[in-house]
Symmetry: D2
Subunit: 442 residues, 4 copies
């Protein structure tokens, strides 16, 4: 429970010094005591010993699978679909009376029961299986720990380490001195053991279905230095900004960003448009959790409390402000007001992604359809509603093109055997278009 830094004490980590493999999972914190039971990995004891399961994603047919598990007589401790996955792996009939059960068969059986979305790590004794659902909806990357002795001299009495690491985002590899190796492919089961990395199988999608990697990982979720499909997220965002400058040019003096996530798109917009890039806001690190707002003054300030205006850079000027997305529409409004009060003559909002209109059933926490600004009557006059001089969004086609153009040219991954590379690229744009990758069951 809590942030990694507070959840694990130094003495906890010291216990792991001589450990050869392990899995963990960090998840968004929500409130309430029951949350604890949803901490991952799920660990259960089976006839063959313990298995541990970490799951990123959300099963589209969780409800039906839950009933199925309970009908077998299993009492479930949590409301999590990750527990369902774990129990399905435990009970897969027939329960073999073998010393080492066929976990790969059980994982394939699980994959036949649910199409998406899941990236999994399953640990049993001295083996870890890394699994990505056939649609590849959630990311999963493999990194390599090169022997340290090739890079540095070792500490006194210190053994060398090398090996493999798996993570949702490749950006995490650098923090531990590992190198990006490749992605787990949609439908792939990869085995990691003392014998190294081995691709065991690729479970196919139904004939004709393209992959459905979540396009919002590019737009918003992922860290900019992560790599998906052979390309850096930062570069995709920069292309989105360039594309936005083409689709929605602006007659203005300067281009800027809502720091920090929109900065690559803003730089892309500036490069394409030829307008100078300046900073107009600096983040106020000292405003954290605002626990109390005792009066109108502080309530009205809202999110603007978190920013300082760099007045000299825009006073008396027309500003194009790039944001990565507008979900509810209530955070950009105080920022626009702040800029205008500080002297901006015009504030044009350019959004480096299309409007979100539909819910996600594959693990992304999106507000209800009613809360989305794009579904409200106010969207008719969104500029007036948020106080901007003008508002323009990137088109769905523009976004898909900005994403996929980089894959064509850069996305060659020589480490994957040619048979797996036949997979066409494809992305889930359900929250923008309402077209879901699989039929939704309820």
């Amino acid at each position: 429970m809590g942030l990694v830094n507070t959840a694990f004490k130094p003495e906890d980590l010291l216990k792991l010094r001589n450990v050869n493999l392990g899995i963990g999972h960090t998840r968004y914190s929500t409130t309430g005591i029951s949350e604890l039971q949803n901490c991952q990995p799920f660990v259960v004891d089976t006839l063959h010993g313990k298995i541990a399961v970490a799951h990123n994603g959300e099963l589209v047919n969780a409800s039906a699978l839950r009933k199925k598990v309970m009908r077998h007589g299993v009492g479930l401790s949590t409301s999590s679909d990750s527990e369902i996955i774990t129990q399905l792996l435990a009970l897969t009939p027939p329960m073999e009376e073998l010393d080492t059960p066929d976990w790969v068969a059980r994982i394939k059986n699980l994959m036949s029961e649910t199409p998406t979305s899941y990236s999994l790590l399953v640990m049993y004794k001295d083996v870890i299986y890394a699994v990505r659902d056939p649609y590849g909806n959630r990311p999963l990357s493999i990194g390599r720990l090169v022997p340290i002795s090739k890079l540095h001299s070792l500490g006194a009495g210190e053994a060398d380490t090398e090996g493999w690491v798996v993570s949702s985002e490749s950006c995490s590899f650098q923090s531990i001195g590992a190198k990006y190796y490749r992605e787990v492919q949609p439908g792939e089961i990869v085995q990691i053991s003392k014998n190294g990395l081995k691709s065991l199988s690729i479970v196919p999608r139904p004939e004709g279905d393209p992959p459905a990697f979540c396009i919002f990982e590019y737009v918003y979720f992922a860290r900019p230095d992560s790599i998906f499909e052979g390309q850096m997220v930062y570069t995709v965002r920069q292309r989105c900004g360039r594309q936005l400058a083409i689709e929605a040019p602006t007659d203005a003096d300067v281009v800027s960003t809502v720091p920090e996530s929109a900065t690559p798109a803003a730089l892309g917009y500036a490069q394409q448009s030829g307008l100078p890039y300046v900073e107009v806001l600096c983040k106020n690190r000292y405003v954290g959790r605002t626990f109390i707002q005792p009066n109108t003054r502080l309530r009205q300030l809202g999110v603007a409390k978190k920013f300082g205006a760099l007045t000299d850079n825009f006073a008396g000027k027309r500003v194009v402000l790039i944001d990565d997305s507008i979900v509810r529409g209530n955070t950009i409004s105080p920022i626009i007001k702040l800029l205008k009060e500080a002297g901006a003559t015009e504030v044009h909002i350019r959004v480096a992604s299309p409007p979100i209109r539909f819910p996600c059933y594959m693990g992304i926490n999106i507000p209800t359809k009613e809360e989305l600004i794009a579904n409200k009557p106010e969207f008719e006059d969104i500029a007036g509603y948020i106080g901007a001089t003008s508002v323009r969004y990137l088109s769905v086609e523009g976004l898909v093109s900005a994403v996929q153009s980089g894959i064509e040219s850069h996305g060659k991954d020589e480490k994957i055997s040619s048979s797996t590379k036949t997979t066409r690229h494809g992305h889930c744009t359900a929250c923008l278009t309402g077209k879901y990758p699989v039929e939704l069951e309820w």
Copy 2:
């Protein structure tokens, strides 16, 4: 986790204001993170809805049952046999496809799988089942909340409460204003619902087996104001002291107690022997967790740090010191030394229970056979080992007689139907005699 007072915050309890039934369980704290998963009650979701189970005791055939549950394909989250009980209740075949399943049949099925030891509370929707194993190894008492309006005027806008409460020990009833009603009988299933209390069934023991209520509840565990088998624990302990004075008389000046649990036995010994009762030790409330003992001085003091000597009451006198039990033999020794240094001319130890020689497999945490002082060579000269002038124990026969003599005369419980009263009395003395109530499976 933690003491009840810290585990529950006022706002947690406020949520329960309008709740009509509930179960909880406090257990000894041990160390380590896994403990959290063993918190009770166990709550699992089944096809028919949630059940919650609180369990006091330890299944003698836990290991075999654990395998059985896992062979069915259930992954177990904890090492607790209480989870096994919960999952057995969830999976009892055939899983009826009914709106309300037959929980009583499932509980009976569970009871047919394991003879002892368990006292259970099982909650499902608006019903609680109170269950005691056929041997009655662990206690379970029923109390009644009389309508408050019969006793006091109600607070403004306050609804009256009445109802039933169930607890291991009847002493807890007074703390919430309830009255002792009766015990759950060995093998009995009692149902508590909005329709009141109802005895549903009494599952019999194998022909010829007597009940096996843990005799150490009388000797040590229970609070002295609790009632078992119709008699107050305090009175049984006083009888043990009287019996001890008969079996092991002493030529001494004063009788005293190791406060506070041995006080009733000491008063009984004083009454029977005619020797005056005095206090020789007062508890030092300010020595709690002694987290550090930086030198020989404090290490040598040991448990004596926790007591102050009431010198005037025994200096120059021969003392009979009553203790309730001697398990490892390393706590009484510093106390004897303390009394002698403070002026006692003789210190005779009289123990109000027989020596413990055997392990308990029914839920009581007793040291290993090797750690028990009664199994060590030093037991040959126990007085010399602990520094006492003499040491004598109560006999097993004396203990059983002190316990059972009170049941004959006082133990009539009119609230139980006559058919259930035919049960003969009997007590588990396994830790003293090695005779276990059922054959042990491994």
Copy 3:
């Protein structure tokens, strides 16, 4: 802040391993953030180096002294009179420009400024001064750490320790393996250094004033195994019980106690009256901080929640219940009700001290005059008010006689030079009689 066990961590104590002297002070916890600043000892840096001061008591002329210190230009950080003592020691004119200032002269100067009440420890470099005010209102005892090598073999590489300890109550000595040596006399300044213990001076009281040791230390505050004026507190309390049996005999069947502080008085009452002593209540260790009382039932139970009735010992009998004092009158009432509901036919309350009628200005936290039951109209019919069959108190004369009769016979302390023994004994009974030892200044 907090209990000693939580305020000091093991690593804090480890730092003290090679330390030769030190002072500390535990005080009742009150609420509020300002409390932290009142933590003792007070440590201030002076021209000559740091001094540390621990103070037990309350200055009767605190208000006038506070003004005096502030008039000199000192800004005070707290509301504590202990800070005033510390600053008075720091500023005593003339500030000598010496390497080692004359602290004894400064302490005497302090004692000339305020008559009572204070027991002090003042630490400066490698010396501690133990000081008791001329009236001896608060206790202060000296203990001796005998060389451990005389008692036990040392641990490997462990240096021996011997030395002196000072404490309000002698009971604390045993917990660290020290022996009671003697009391600091009223007005005495004792120096402890590497050269051992040395009595430096005894500052006299005004001609004709007797000492004024707080008589409530005997009645209630002190632990029963502490020694004051050469006698054990337990024994004084037992004598109070005997005296009470003489002054207030009762026609009853059994004598008992409100555990645990009244037990010695109850045993004394039983011995003197010839009535049998039994236990009627057992403490409920599991009711701690009762943070919430959601309904009438629990509110009405009040303090009775904290006790279990040992029914067998008194049902159908007339009970004499000894209490040590009745301050507000609202805790004994639910206990009487509990005993009556459990079957006592009569409950006679005998109080082993006189009624408290007056406030204390010397450090004891007594309720305001208006809150004291002895000053309320209900005191006219106190038995009716609290629901007792009868109520009787010990007389002031009876209490003084029970206290002082033990000093005459046992109170010889050979360790104090004869000149100091001329001090007559005398006790502060201000809270009972309104006669304060010194004129009160406001």
Copy 4:
């Protein structure tokens, strides 16, 4: 203690709802229990009532003043020079026996005792005095809370607020909805009361001494949206970057920044040099306190763990990396290595400030002379030492010119009376040049 968000609970703030004035102070956290006593504001009770003092800075003659206060007989509770200020205000002779003492006279007396460095807030009853030392070494700004009703409609039943706020940095005003008004001038005493803002006095410097505002506030400490001497810090830093491009041009492909503090200088360098500005590093928010580094791998990574490389932006290119300062030289080295390993062909370091060579005695925590990289032999070949292709620093003259050129053109402050504007501008560059604004006393 701790961050503001954890030090104050909502209930603490609710108590302040109807409060009209107050002061606080946040300071760098260090370790150890004594820190608590150094928490500000210092509050002491004087003959005239309580005063509270918050102090930013460090007295150059603290040691002499400390002796002076102690020689007067004041015991000091802390090692803080802020307590000395507080006690000096309390004891300033003669202590007037007036109802309201002349605090302004006392503040002037304090200012005659110590030349620098201090910015103070002194609160007494319903008045706050804002004071800046005659050299103006530490900043102090005044902001204005405009009536909320002029901006927004009030909440139900909510009173309007207007008034004055004072802060070290003007950036804090926006977070509470206040507007920057002006700076407190060097030597100025400003009074804030219910009668508004009033400049009471300007205590002069010695004839010929220029002001000595800390130039490192511009270089490093201050938030970029703060205003000093009429100019925005961001703009000064941008000018430093431009000046650096003139002094130290580079033959390279791209200009970038060590995020985030060096970004304005990097943008200035890019503008001046004509080289394109790109981002090469993204901050890893998930690496916080790194509590354990169990092996060589993680130790070698060092600060590089906190950054992700945006490879696409610089692979195969020559990078000019702007940093704001290099103090010890051990943080830039792993970053250079990271960039080179990720494909940068050259990494030229350009530092937007001169080398730090001398200690600061005026409140800034600078490493010892020996730790400063500029004083080490390695500085001879600093590029080789840190692994850079080349290293260049901004000159002292360049820095002073970048700072002061903006004051000439923009620094007119109409709100200050003309007599105060005669003050020449001047800056403390002691850490760069060793020329301290006043003679240092020891």
